[in-house]
């Protein structure tokens, strides 16, 4: 039989800090793309609501206890915001430097990181990545004040509500729609976490994007299959590039996924990039981009 113990060495965990805020825009295909760094993040306060008890009485007893749907909302506080956030905060920009207020607010995705520490490694023990989909910022107060005898910067604050997005059945498990997810670096496979962070924060060949909840679950929970990209070929007689068909690999030109087969004719030097599909990974090192020289 196991005996419970408390506060053992290296088991005294805590959470602290907030950093690596990233803002993602929802595009017309439903993907959260164009991630930009949110510098100056001072706090994120999660404020889940709902899940309220609604007792039903019958036969002189509590017959059942119905629970309302749980909703995720949060408050983002920061010294400043990326200019891309203006469209999410009800501003339109007809030209650089001009912001028109009271415009439709756009849905966005958001991620941030908190640190997970313990008594032996301190704040370096690990971290949690928090992901939010379907976020909508409410109008918020901006209290501008005079410069006085102490150096204070305005702290902006936005209340964010969310609309859960579908998850569906992933790896034979059905999930309810969700707007939030948390990844604990101390518990997940570092290789899978690196893949997820490659999506979230971008890489040499990829722009930052927020994968869907189903994709995040697939990345983190499934066994990754090794896929090795093969190089595209170029025929300078007709200037066509042949994109190879490799299981688990998709190829991109100018950021757009291109199907296997002929692409072109090209009229200039063209960079072809490869990236693993969800559930696959590339061996390391691997060549995943090729510059096709037009001739």
């Amino acid at each position: 039989m196991a005996t419970l113990t408390w506060d053992q060495t290296a088991q005294r965990f805590y959470e602290t800090g907030v950093d690596r805020g990233v803002l993602y825009q929802l595009d017309e295909t439903g993907e959260y793309v164009d991630g930009v760094a949110w510098s100056g993040l001072t706090g994120v306060t999660e404020s889940p609501s709902g899940a309220e008890s609604n007792k039903q009485y019958a036969d002189n007893i509590v017959y059942l206890n119905l629970i309302s749907v749980e909703m995720f909302s949060c408050t983002i506080e920061a010294f400043y915001y990326p200019p891309e956030f203006e469209q999410n905060d009800g501003s339109a920009s007809p030209t650089s430097g001009v912001s028109v207020g009271q415009q439709p607010r756009k849905t966005f995705g958001f991620s941030w990181r908190t640190l997970k520490g313990n008594d032996t490694e301190g704040n370096l023990h690990g971290y949690k990545i928090h992901l939010v989909w379907g976020a909508l910022a409410a109008p918020s107060e901006k209290a501008y004040a005079t410069v006085n005898d102490s150096p204070e910067a305005i702290t902006f604050s936005w209340e964010v509500s969310t609309t859960p997005v579908a998850v569906g059945t992933v790896l034979s498990v059905e999930y309810a729609p969700t707007a939030s997810m948390t990844i604990d670096s101390t518990k997940v496979d570092p290789a899978k976490l690196a893949i997820l962070e490659g999506y979230l924060y971008g890489s040499v060949s990829e722009d930052p994007m927020l994968p869907s909840p189903a994709d995040v679950i697939t990345i983190m929970a499934s066994a990754l299959t090794l896929a090795t990209p093969t190089a595209p070929t170029y025929d300078n007689t007709d200037d066509m590039i042949t994109i190879p068909a490799v299981t688990g690999v998709e190829y991109l030109i100018d950021g757009e996924v291109v199907p296997s087969g002929d692409f072109g004719p090209i009229t200039a030097n063209t960079l072809v990039r490869a990236r693993p599909l969800t559930g696959y990974k590339f061996p390391t090192p691997v060549q995943d981009e090729w510059l096709i020289t037009f001739s």
Partner: protein, 99 residues
């Protein structure tokens, strides 16, 4: 121009004799402003000091308690008067300024 050089040039428009952390044996000419680094004030974001502002302590030293430089100093942005005292028959006005 680094911020302290700019502060030095601003102070030199107020009085002719401006001394930054002078050595103890320096014979100062009055009226004068003697100033030194005091502290730095940091605002934190992203788990790092996001914005840091240096504070300087300025001392206006004058033989007259009504030196006009007082008005110029008190009207500088982010400047506050801390105290006044007399020592060695010299009037001292101590200011704190973030710059």
């Amino acid at each position: 121009m680094v911020p302290r050089d700019l502060l030095q040039s601003i102070l030199e428009t107020i009085v002719d004799n401006v001394y930054f952390q002078p050595p103890p044996d320096l014979q100062m000419v009055y009226p004068a402003i003697r100033y030194e680094r005091a502290r730095a004030d940091s605002a934190f974001a992203d788990n790092v000091p996001y914005k840091t502002t240096k504070q300087y302590q300025l001392i206006l030293i004058s033989r007259s308690p009504d030196n006009l430089a007082f008005e110029s100093l008190i009207n500088l942005p982010m400047c506050s008067h801390e105290r006044f005292y007399v020592a060695d028959n010299l009037n001292h006005d101590v200011f704190n300024i973030y710059f």
